[in-house]
């Protein structure tokens, strides 16, 4: 039985090396396919990082009354922290608010002077809330408008920014959906192209396949080497694609970082090298072997 499999594997390797041009063309198409799929993965990573960054810029500030006691503020803060929608809260004390105000206006003598004259700190503390998702500010704002907090809350800037936040949130959702849709369509096209190329490669062997049948070979014995060949296409293509991504991300990484900010694709590629490679390898070998399997079926009917 092991002789049976070693024959199949050997025949697959021999066909792979002998078919020269067909092999080269098929590997090239597979590389393009995997490259498209890899690019989709990378651009999704980039898109997600850009969208997350934009989303991070959205926040809601709760301005507290100057009369609000510190302990009440801390209670409010911990209540907010317990909300599932809330990602992060920054507490700015009255002192901090004042010093940052002074810092911003240190060149304006009139303002600093009048503040000095005032003696007391006129600024209230504030809580800066980041929701996990831009759609969740609405419910955070609802929570805050409960009468229990009205004694300490001066105003919430959500209500001024409501329209902008909602619009942005819509844009983010649409972008995510569009990104997913486009990725899916491109991936399907790439897979179909690879499948057809392998079908064509096997089509060139259809006469041989029928002869193999006529000299008494079992279907699995004929099919085996083609599947091995398909797997080899996948492995080689995954390697080539990984290599091709190196200079590409090296070149594109800083540019994309400059344009969109956030993530450096090259660093991402290097730090996720193995996961990335395993995914491409998996897709490549499955695509290669499965395409061979499907394509050869019709020629095994003799």
């Amino acid at each position: 039985m092991s002789a049976y499999y070693s024959r199949i594997i050997k025949a697959g390797f021999i066909n792979f090396t002998r078919n020269g041009w067909v092999t080269l063309a098929t590997v090239m198409i597979m590389v393009i396919t995997l490259f498209v799929i890899g690019s989709i993965m990378l651009s999704n990573v980039l898109l997600v990082s850009v969208l997350t960054r934009i989303e991070k810029k959205v926040d809601v500030s709760i301005y507290l009354k100057t009369t609000a006691k510190e302990e009440d503020i801390l209670i409010l803060k911990s209540k907010l922290e317990n909300l599932p929608e809330v990602d992060e809260i920054r507490y700015m004390t009255r002192k901090e608010a004042l010093s940052s105000f002074m810092e911003r206006h240190k060149n304006n003598a009139l303002i600093t002077q009048s503040l000095d004259e005032l003696g007391d700190n006129p600024l209230g503390a504030s809580l800066n809330v980041h929701a996990k998702n831009s759609e969740q500010y609405e419910s955070v704002a609802m929570f805050l408008s409960s009468p229990a907090f009205s004694s300490i809350i001066d105003k919430i800037n959500y209500f001024q920014n409501k329209i902008v936040i909602e619009r942005l949130s819509n844009i983010l959702t649409t972008s995510r959906r569009a990104g997913f849709g486009i990725s899916l369509v491109l991936a399907v096209i790439a897979v179909l192209v690879a499948f057809n190329t392998i079908r064509l490669a096997i089509y060139t062997s259809k006469d041989e396949i029928s002869v193999m049948r006529l000299v008494g070979a079992k279907n699995s014995f004929i099919r085996g080497p083609f599947i091995v060949e398909g797997i080899l296409y996948g492995i080689i293509s995954a390697f080539v694609t990984m290599v091709a991504f190196y200079p590409l991300t090296l070149w594109l990484g800083p540019k994309a970082e400059f344009f969109f900010g956030g993530l450096n694709l090259f660093e991402y590629y290097i730090s996720n090298f193995f996961q990335f490679f395993i995914i491409l390898l998996f897709i490549g070998t499955i695509l290669g072997s499965f395409s061979s399997f499907i394509a050869i079926r019709r020629y095994l009917k003799v």
Partner: protein, 226 residues
């Protein structure tokens, strides 16, 4: 051993290759099928190998109706038949040696058997020095001899030889015919389709003559008459 039961093959309305053909081949027989070009000889052999399906009638190999076998079981019968195709049908991507070895690999021979038998049959047909040539690097006669070697290497129960000497010079032709006779004398059934008059007359064996898809003569010790 082989039984054709009222077999007809109509490829298309304008091309009837076989018309109600019935005959029986006994084990160890050496039977020649003769007829003009286009008479239906190759079609008859294709039906035995289940390469084509009959339009009507049945073909038996021993007690098995060849065409009622599922596709996944037909190889069991094909392994018992060695075929020399009229158009050789060597595997273009395999060398001469590999072509012959393939038939053995396919039937599950061990590596030792393959390494012992393949060189032996290649020597027998005189192709030893072309072992690593691909089919497109062989002459017509060499291809034919490779096809012969592939057909006999598994020591099949039946050998189908469709015009096996069409590309050979007279000396090679006689060698191949002698080889087929020898294989037959060791117990293998041989079915030979040919138009070569001299061969038929010298064989002095059973001859079936077909014309336009019909058997017009079946003679025990026949001669080539058309």
């Amino acid at each position: 051993m082989i039984y054709f039961d009222h077999v007809s093959k109509v490829y298309s309305p304008t091309s009837t290759a076989l018309d109600d053909v019935s005959f029986t081949i006994e084990p160890k027989e050496f039977i020649s099928i003769v007829g003009k070009s286009g008479a239906g000889k190759t079609t008859l052999l294709k039906l035995l190998l289940a390469e084509e399906k009959p339009s009507s009638g049945r073909v038996f190999f021993e007690s098995q109706n060849v065409h009622s076998l599922p596709r996944t079981a037909i190889h069991k019968i094909r392994r018992r038949i060695g075929t020399i195709f009229q158009d050789f049908r060597l595997l273009a991507s395999k060398t001469c040696y590999e072509n012959i070895a393939f038939a053995m690999e396919a039937s599950g021979s061990t590596d030792e058997e393959i390494e012992a038998d393949v060189p032996q049959v290649m020597d027998l047909v005189g192709l030893m020095n072309k072992a690593w040539h691909f089919p497109h690097e062989l002459s017509g006669g060499e291809k034919q001899r490779a096809a012969i070697a592939r057909a006999i290497v598994n020591r099949p129960d039946v050998i189908i030889a469709d015009e096996p000497t069409g590309n050979l010079d007279p000396i090679n032709t006689w060698e191949i015919i002698e080889l087929l006779k020898k294989i037959n004398s060791m117990g293998t059934t041989v079915i030979l389709a040919t138009h070569a008059k001299d061969i038929i007359n010298s064989l002095d064996k059973r001859v079936i003559t077909i014309e336009d898809g019909k058997i017009i003569r079946d003679a025990k010790r026949g001669r080539y008459v058309l």
